[in-house]
């Protein structure tokens, strides 16, 4: 539901059903609401049967990449010769995204249950939940829920009497966007700087401490419980457009809508319905200018492009952007696109781990060129220079942080050339707030 707003009739609350209900936070409260039935069912099945069920549901990674979850789980070795690890990515820091925070703060046991199901399916005895350092209240809630789960044998040496051992450690980050990248996250857990690793080897082969490891997003893991209880066929049936996009998805909507919040809809729901109906459209007297649909790392969409766009992986790709994390930044006609793109570039420059030259230099140069344009000192060749830089920042580095900086810049120049021209022709100038 669109917490902090009441559920909208066009929503399908599965994961968000108990947002705002503090009674769901305890083990007993969660069990009363039907919780832990999914884990009990999974423990009665073999590893392969659980993976098959997740595969059949069509569940795909909700952190941004959209990789099929069951397939990812199947990459873990069948024979356990070294410890297997599951890492839950709760380092939610993609600008525009704030869904995992709500899952943790209202339904921590929904996450713990999903983690335990996944750990069982992959033969993992230990789970690390990596939660971003700034989520102080959520960290406390999660730690309390984990202790509660241990006391009730939902975690520990003999989970619900199944003979399975599953331990869970909550690991707190310390301020670094890049640690949301899975290999950087593993380095961070190992007590290192959060520099992404070169792949291959992929985590399922050599991840945490060179052991087989799988990293899943909070929302992905939270979906495992409902899928186990209600079945793959039910989940797969939640699809309104592309059959490759199934289930429900939480969309975090922020910016200039009347009712920002998290809305859970069936995949393929029209983007128009989300922006104009569920979120109440723009503020009075304003019109929509642009939407960044999947967290700040994806190309910007124009108001016209969202008109007939289904909210699913394929639908948004067809419009030249990506579903990403489902963090939707809505901008009305009062927005200065050039300034906001500069702020995003500054974000990426600040968050670059600085390993790769294209990223370390490219994100900083992009920011400085945009600042120059905004200060009324732009040069006619600056847009070509930005595009050239962006080209050098795409597909050439260890991770995709520099690609993520390039995507909004390139799409803004292509889709809103007039905004840049206004500054370049000296018709517009902005005094910058310096950091």
């Amino acid at each position: 539901m669109g917490y902090p707003h009441p559920s909208h009739p066009k929503e399908e609350p599965v994961l968000s059903r108990y947002f705002g209900d503090a009674g769901a936070r305890t083990f007993d409260g969660w069990v009363k609401r039907g919780g832990y039935e999914g884990l009990k069912k999974a423990l009665g099945m073999t590893r392969d049967q659980v993976i098959e069920e997740i595969k059949n549901s069509g569940l795909r990674g909700r952190g941004g990449a959209g990789f099929p979850t069951g397939l990812k789980w199947s990459f873990m070795p069948k024979e356990v010769t070294k410890p297997h690890y599951l890492v839950c990515n709760a380092d939610e820091s993609e600008p525009g995204t704030f869904k995992d925070r709500e899952i943790i703060r209202w339904t921590p046991h929904q996450l713990i249950e999903g983690c335990a199901i996944a750990a069982h399916a992959m033969g993992a005895e230990r789970i690390y939940i990596y939660i971003r350092g700034e989520f102080t209240a959520e960290h406390k809630i999660l730690v309390a829920a984990v202790e509660d789960a241990y006391r009730n044998n939902a975690l520990g040496e003999n989970v619900f009497g199944s003979g399975r051992r599953i331990d869970l450690v909550v690991h707190r980050g310390a301020g670094a966007y890049i640690c949301g990248e899975e290999t950087a996250m593993m380095n961070s857990i190992e007590g290192k700087r959060g520099n992404p690793r070169i792949k291959p080897p992929f985590p399922a082969v050599a991840g945490l401490w060179a052991s087989p490891t799988t990293i899943n997003n909070v929302e992905t893991l939270a979906a495992a419980g409902p899928i186990m209880v209600r079945g793959a066929a039910w989940y797969k049936g939640l699809s309104r457009s592309s059959p490759k996009s199934t289930g429900t998805k939480l969309f975090s909507v922020c910016g200039h809508v009347q009712r920002p919040g998290n809305y859970e809809v069936v995949m393929g729901t029209p983007m128009r319905d989300l922006v104009y109906d569920m979120c109440g459209g723009m503020r009075p007297g304003r019109s929509l200018k642009a939407v960044i649909p999947g967290g700040s790392s994806v190309p910007i969409m124009t108001a016209a492009e969202i008109e007939d766009c289904p909210l699913d992986y394929e639908g948004i790709v067809a419009k030249g952007s990506m579903l990403g994390s489902g963090g939707m930044i809505v901008m009305d006609d009062s927005t200065d696109i050039v300034y906001q793109v500069m702020r995003l570039a500054r974000f990426y420059a600040h968050e670059s781990c600085a390993q790769c030259t294209q990223c370390r230099e490219g994100t900083a140069w992009t920011t400085r060129i945009l600042e120059r344009i905004l200060a009324g000192q732009g040069r006619p060749e600056d847009l070509d220079l930005l595009l050239d830089l962006a080209d050098n920042m795409t597909g050439k580095t260890i991770c995709v942080l520099s690609d993520s900086c390039a995507a909004p810049v390139v799409s803004a120049i292509r889709k809103f050339p007039g905004e840049f021209e206004a500054y370049l022709s000296r018709n517009r100038q902005r005094t910058l707030v310096t950091v």
């Binding site: 525009g96 707190r172 980050g173 190992e190 700087r193 910016g255 920002p260």
Partner: protein, 176 residues
């Protein structure tokens, strides 16, 4: 992420004071309770640094050396990790550390006006500076992950949603 010249001066000044060990008594017990949760001591580095910051408010060179000794790492290695993560303070900050999110989603909702209000009402004047009475430090922070509740502000460990310039004086009342 690198220390500013002013920050370096702070750190230098404090470096001369002898370091009082952090990992004794209950704090040491909390650290040791973490050891079985990880296959290496090195993995306890981020949690250990959190314990230091919780106890002392910032992470000094002396603390870096202590952490290195406790976990069997070198001080240079520990410093490399400390300076990678933005939440660890490598110099003292105000008693109340205020972080205002100004990344695009909050920025378009007026976050920069919230920053201005904090700078004005705390007497800090500029970003990163500590007020004369040592009470406040204000910084801009990149995305706090609460974009639907613009503008989120962190004061120490308190996460405050939906802050507007008008709310700032009232909020500051709670932080003496």
């Amino acid at each position: 992420m690198s220390a500013t010249p002013a920050a370096g001066a702070h750190a230098g000044a404090h470096h001369e004071e002898p370091h009082q060990p952090v990992f004794v008594g209950p704090v040491l017990a909390r650290l040791e309770a973490l050891f079985p949760k990880y296959p290496t001591r090195q993995a306890c580095l981020l949690p250990a640094l959190w314990l230091v910051q919780e106890a002392r408010g910032w992470i000094s060179q002396g603390a870096i050396e202590e952490v290195a000794a406790v976990l069997g790492l070198t001080p240079a290695y520990v410093k490399g990790v400390v300076t990678f993560y933005t939440m660890y303070h490598t110099h003292p900050v105000g008693r109340h550390f205020i972080q205002v999110c100004t990344t695009s989603p909050c920025n378009i909702c007026g976050a920069e006006d919230v920053v201005k209000a904090f700078l004005q009402h705390t007497g800090c004047g500029e970003l990163g500076a500590t007020s004369q009475d040592g009470r406040f430090t204000v910084i801009e922070v990149e995305c706090l992950g609460a974009c639907g509740f613009a503008t989120p502000v962190m004061i120490n460990d308190d996460f405050i949603e939906g802050v507007t310039p008008e709310r700032v004086p009232g909020i500051l009342q709670g932080y003496k």
